[in-house]
């Protein structure tokens, strides 16, 4: 199985946010409030966590016509609350969205995608959900090649990007039967 998930170390960094004050999050300053290109920052009272969704190369996705596919995956990195936020894209301004709520829990939604005809399976983290005393902040991904991070409040991830959507993006236009197992890990 190809593991394209957050590492144990990254997951531990997220777990450490629980119980802290969710001060704000940073994202691209765009007219569309529901997405940020490749990067967001979760700021708490003690530490910041930069979450990225950059594409990486996975040679197993090579095709017979010579293309090598890239897969976007979540990663995260800690930084101090005083570190200036730099968006992923050049020439883009960022904005800080104030939250000021207490983090009660963090969940990671992951999909295991099994494609028997091609003899491979992939495990990907699809959403990072920060639950506070008031709301549920969903930072999620969509297609395997999409670097955008989608931001929703109080929405169920299954309604944002369903298992059927995942199957559609992997079934090669109906050629493969794709099995998707979705699971949620509460940190």
């Amino acid at each position: 199985m190809i593991n394209a998930r957050l590492t144990e170390e990254m997951t531990e960094k997220m777990r450490r946010l629980v119980g802290h004050q969710f001060v704000s999050y940073f994202m691209d300053d765009d007219i569309f409030d529901d997405k940020s290109y490749c990067k967001i920052r979760i700021k708490t009272d003690t530490v910041c966590l930069d979450v990225m969704n950059e594409v990486q190369t996975f040679p197993f996705l090579e095709s017979s016509i010579g293309t090598t596919e890239e897969l976007s995956c979540f990663t995260c990195q800690e930084c101090s609350v005083n570190t200036k936020y730099e968006p992923y894209l050049l020439d883009v301004k960022s904005k800080e969205v104030l939250v000021n709520e207490i983090i009660r829990g963090i969940s990671i939604v992951s999909d295991e995608i099994i494609i028997s005809e091609e003899n491979y399976s992939i495990c990907l983290d699809m959403a990072i959900i920060v639950e506070t005393n008031r709301h549920k902040y969903v930072f999620s991904r969509r297609s395997y090649f999409d670097e955008q991070i989608y931001i929703h409040i109080d929405k169920d991830f299954d309604t944002i990007y369903s298992i059927s959507d995942v199957q559609k993006s992997w079934n090669n236009e109906g050629e493969f039967s794709v099995q998707v197992k979705r699971f949620v890990a509460k940190l």
């Binding site: 569309f32 010579g66 293309t67 090598t68 596919e69 894209l89 050049l90 020439d91 883009v92 670097e147």
Partner: protein
């Protein structure tokens, strides 16, 4: 509102997204050059991606991007990897000049609202 990259790309117009440039309008204007399938996809089937073959894949990719991203607000990807464009209906189009596939640029389309086309990644490959 983001600062945006206002220089445009190639022969594109400036980069502030203009109210009337939606994905459906842009697709309508390019259909005769780049046909769209009934399922809302460009090119031919590849492996979880679409393929457009061309004698000059870089020129074709650039031309395709200029047409589909017309009127969008453009920003550069880091390290010279390409350009992102957002249309007024929220559709995001990413032109990757550099991809993991040697000499094969790609255009990715992410739809925000119901449209005649669907999310897809199109690789441009040299026609032998």
């Amino acid at each position: 509102m983001g600062a945006g990259y206002h220089g445009g790309f190639g022969r594109t117009e400036g980069s502030r997204n203009k109210p009337n440039y939606t994905i459906d309008k842009n697709v309508q204007g390019m259909k005769k050059y780049y046909p769209v399938t009934e399922t809302g996809k460009f090119g031919v089937k590849g492996k979880n991606q679409r393929i457009i073959y061309s004698k000059d894949q870089f020129a074709t990719a650039e031309d395709f991007f200029e047409r589909i991203a017309r009127g969008g607000e453009q920003t550069k990807l880091p390290n010279g990897k390409g350009i992102k464009s957002v249309l007024s209906d929220g559709t995001t189009i990413v032109y990757r000049v550099i991809t993991s596939t040697a000499s094969s640029p790609a255009v990715e389309i992410f739809i925000s609202q119901p449209s005649s086309i669907v999310d897809q990644k199109i690789h441009f490959i040299k026609e032998e």
